[in-house]
Symmetry: C2
Subunit: 287 residues, 2 copies
């Protein structure tokens, strides 16, 4: 899965977490990225927001990284296969360092393009770029999900958000926050497969997806779990509704609990390779 | 390099360029992404900026995609090896579509992290997230580069930019625009290796890099060619200056000719995988 060299590099990277390189101050951002000195196992820590500082985008004071750190141990949807990393160039042999990566497009924090399910849907490289910057709506079902791994975000949750915050902004990106990322400390509990082979984690109910695409104006949806549909889904009806309407999904979104439910913006740094069904994305929130 | 299935997919994607999927209007963004009906060979077209519209970030009216579409035919630095794509899931066999990708981290529009050259430098996943959003400074050497493939951005070019636009903003991302991307229509001319095996394309002169890291305040640099250093470099002195100072580089930046030289912002949707020496990035400009 992963060469000894890369494992050594990964360990070296973990050991180096306390040192961020020449000229780079250790900042709250490391905590924001969930990458403290404890390394991967600290990923589930809730980060503080980082002031944008000099690089402020007018009107937004903070940036939060909504991206998990992908790695050969980051959990994937069953059957996808883990990411692999092999050192291609080393300091010793070449004077510089690089890796060759092998991964399914649907690895880590990633985009599902309409073409993931629909042969006539847009591939990720063709999603219009202005749809990658959108008002960020976060709907918190974490209280319910804490007691029910099969919890789903329902139309009532959308209506409750609107009661509290007003109508969904036009062109919104609507994200489910279930708090599920806490389980990344033990990846098996994140995938959460039962003895019958059925996964159990929260997702967005198909009825909510249909409401969003038919009665609201969205660019896409996000979930902090492995799939737009809840783990026990057999028909992927949320994927079908969202991708079939030409919207995109983002799965394994991080740190949504650190961003206000309304008023922020999301930047989806989605993949851009030819014929992409999706791919890893760098996702940032501004608020 | 690339399975027949993936080649078929690529052709299908090219054939589909006129159709952007259910619910997605054909917009100027397709031209902005350099992906017109002619497909890859149209990549070098200079795009119009796309109005951000409803998803406007306060104060910025336009977004431009600074990212090339990576593919198995996109040129790479010699020795890197091309990106490979293999269809892992197909509509016919699985009911959905995905690819397994194999690529060096330094493929397409991508980040060079300090760790690319320095074992004690930050890996890409640890670059503080607020450094990924920065004032965008574009220094145009395209007139000189048109007549000289070995043209370099010099300290004088930086001083001339400042004479015209004022001092470099704090925390800037400084990008060289050489117009080189026009050569992507014929990838061999983009790499431009002479009979002696030496590459010839523009880059940022080491003296300019030293000026930027010692006498100005930057987060990183960008180039619209394969390397921060010009192609004929033998010592990679610009890489050494930039990465050694804990700054990052972005190579193969697209469409810089469509963004004003001053006043814009860049969002570098850099890679986030463990121990990354760099990796593909989605790079956007706002202005």
């Amino acid at each position: 899965m992963c060469s000894p060299l890369v494992l050594a590099r990964v360990q070296a990277a973990l050991d180096r977490r306390a040192f961020v390189g020449a000229g780079m101050a250790m900042t709250a951002t490391l905590a924001a990225a969930g990458l403290g000195a404890r390394g991967v196992s600290a990923r589930q820590a809730t980060p503080a927001a980082t002031p944008v500082g000099r690089s402020v985008i007018a009107g937004y004071a903070n940036v939060v990284d909504l991206t998990h750190t992908a790695s050969p141990t980051f959990p994937v949807y069953p059957g996808t296969g883990q990411m692999e990393m092999v050192v291609q160039n080393s300091y010793e042999a070449d004077g510089y360092y690089s890796n060759r990566l092998t991964l399914n497009e649907h690895t880590g924090t990633h985009v599902d393009a309409p073409a993931h399910f629909f042969s006539d849907g847009a591939t990720a490289d063709l999603i219009p770029v202005e749809r990658l910057i959108a008002p960020l709506v976060i709907i918190d079902i974490s209280a319910r999900a804490a007691g029910d791994p099969d919890a789903q975000l329902t139309p009532d949750d959308i209506l409750a958000w609107e009661m509290a915050n007003g109508a969904l902004p036009g062109g919104s990106f609507v994200a489910m926050y279930s708090g599920w990322e806490r389980r990344l400390a033990d990846p098996d509990t994140y995938v959460n497969v039962d003895s019958g082979g059925v996964q159990h984690y929260p997702g967005i109910h198909p009825d909510a997806a249909v409401l969003l695409v038919n009665e609201r104006d969205i660019v896409g949806i996000g979930v902090d779990t492995l799939s737009q549909d809840f783990g026990a889904s057999t028909d992927f009806a949320t994927h079908v509704a969202i991708l079939g309407a030409g919207k995109y999904g983002v799965e394994n979104v991080a740190n949504l609990g650190s961003v206000p439910p309304a008023g922020g913006m999301v930047i989806v740094g989605g993949p851009k390779h030819l014929a992409a069904s999706g791919g890893p994305a760098r996702v940032l929130a501004l608020f």
